[in-house]
């Protein structure tokens, strides 16, 4: 069984391209090594540089509830210990215990592959495959086409002037 993991610490796009025409990205720590962390920031609108347009809707948390001011290329647990971006589920599970419990028993989160692990592998999503960590509520979706069988045809509303 494989649990998908994030690739690692995110890279920030600088908006410039290099000699080969590829986008130049930098690690979070590139800027954050020299900036003073603000423990009270809890919305991207409060930030002057970068992070603009980041939709934030995740309870009453601040940036540093999850991001690690000692090393911005890692995350931090509630007890102050650092945790790698790849181990994000450990971080989420601190608050979302019931979801983590369900996940550990195969009752939360999408998967593909085999129900019978003796006959083949299974791949499971991690938290951030489905939930944007900054705005974790699952977004509205456009449904796939409705069926055209007769039982599903809705009863027509009576005309207004009857």
């Amino acid at each position: 069984m494989t649990i998908q993991r994030p690739a690692g610490p995110p890279r920030v796009n600088t908006g410039t391209t290099n000699f080969h025409g590829r986008a130049v990205t930098v690690a979070c720590g590139t800027c954050h090594a020299t900036t003073q962390p603000n423990t009270r920031t809890h919305a991207s609108a409060a930030l002057i540089q970068f992070h603009q347009g980041l939709n934030y809707a995740h309870g009453e948390l601040t940036c540093l509830s999850c991001h690690n001011p000692a090393n911005y290329d890692t995350l931090r647990l509630a007890d102050g210990r650092g945790v790698e971006f790849t181990d994000v589920m450990t971080l989420c599970g601190q608050c979302h215990g019931s979801q983590l419990r369900d996940y550990q028993h195969g009752a939360h989160g999408g998967m593909t592959g085999y129900w019978d692990l003796s006959r083949g592998p299974r791949t499971r999503n991690n938290c951030i495959n489905c939930h944007d960590p900054h705005s974790p509520k699952y977004p509205l979706a456009r449904p796939v086409f409705p069926p055209r069988d007769r039982i599903s045809v809705p009863v027509k509303a009576p005309a207004a002037n009857h």
């Binding site: 019931s98 009752a107 939360h108 999408g110 129900w115």
Partner: protein
């Protein structure tokens, strides 16, 4: 009567006239009713017509039948397919659970079913009907399967309904020719070559889970899923019943059903009810689980639950 409509001297009474009209109309209706028979050729071959019931086929017979179906599919649809007849595994009974707190009603499961099970394309057919339900009721007869707006809508919840693989399946009881039965792993199947299309099972199913092939399924060759099962997703002939089989061509080979893999929210849990360590058993033991129309005594093996 003071003024009779006709006089006896004319040789024809009103009664005779109506008799004549009735007989003419009757004949016309009879001819009209029989007209489809003149175009009717449901069997591809004599072998098809003479084929025995699935349970009576020997291993050799079955091999011949599968090869013939592959050949017919190539001829009729232009697709190379492999039709297998996977048997139930000993020690396995399939169960399915669906978390109604998580389902958002996106119909991805129905779409996956549509593709996996080689459903007729024009009718958007699928074995899953996702019902949009108003909070406050679990009456699936009041659900709307036809919604078309961003989901989840305010104050609605979504309940996908497919075959519940009942332990007491009323659809099996009513079949006059035993073309449908429950397999040892819990899956209710149809021998499409034995089914006479009477639709009794469709009427008997309290979950509206059975479908009738009103027309010959239309599927472009490139879209046909070539991995097919005799009792599951092979292309059904016109005039027979079909139903969800928990994708037995997949699940009997250890794979998850197509609708589960397609679910973007992870609302579905599938597994072996006889394995105490399976995910499905954990759900049954730890969640507040219910079945649809429990009062009918059908004993569904498809379970629903809400979180918290």
């Amino acid at each position: 009567m003071s003024q009779p409509a006709t006089t006896p001297s004319e040789g024809i009474t009103r009664r005779d006239l109506f008799k004549g009209i009735g007989a003419t109309l009757g004949l016309a209706a009879y001819a009209k009713a029989l007209a489809p028979l003149t175009e009717w050729k449901p069997f591809e071959s004599v072998e098809d017509f003479l084929q025995k019931h699935y349970s009576e086929l020997s291993a050799v017979d079955l091999e011949v039948v599968l090869k013939r179906i592959e050949k017919d599919t190539k001829k009729q649809y232009g697709a190379d397919v492999q039709v297998s007849a996977d048997r139930p595994q000993p020690g396995v009974k399939f169960g399915y659970a669906l978390n109604l707190s998580i389902c958002i009603g996106c119909r991805k499961c129905a779409e996956a079913c549509h593709k996996e099970n080689n459903h007729d394309r024009p009718s958007h057919q699928s074995y899953i009907r996702v019902l949009e339900m108003s909070k406050g009721s679990l009456d699936l007869e009041k659900g709307n399967a036809h919604y078309d707006h961003p989901v989840p809508a305010k104050d609605k919840f979504y309940m996908p309904v497919q075959c519940q693989q009942c332990d007491h399946p009323p659809c099996v009881d009513v079949c006059p020719v035993e073309a449908t039965w429950k397999e040892p792993d819990g899956i209710v199947v149809v021998d499409y070559n034995w089914c006479i299309g009477c639709r009794y099972c469709e009427a008997a199913c309290p979950y509206h889970a059975r479908r009738f092939n009103w027309t010959k399924p239309q599927i472009p060759a490139a879209e046909i899923n070539p991995v097919q099962g005799y009792l599951s997703n092979r292309i059904r002939p016109q005039g027979v019943m079909e139903k969800c089989t928990f994708c037995l061509h997949r699940t009997r080979n250890g794979k998850l059903p197509a609708c589960l893999e397609a679910c973007p929210t992870g609302a579905r849990v599938f597994g072996n009810l006889l394995d105490p360590d399976s995910e499905i058993r954990w759900v049954l033991q730890n969640k507040r689980v219910f079945v649809l129309k429990e009062e009918l005594g059908t004993k569904p093996q498809f379970f629903y639950f809400f979180d918290a």
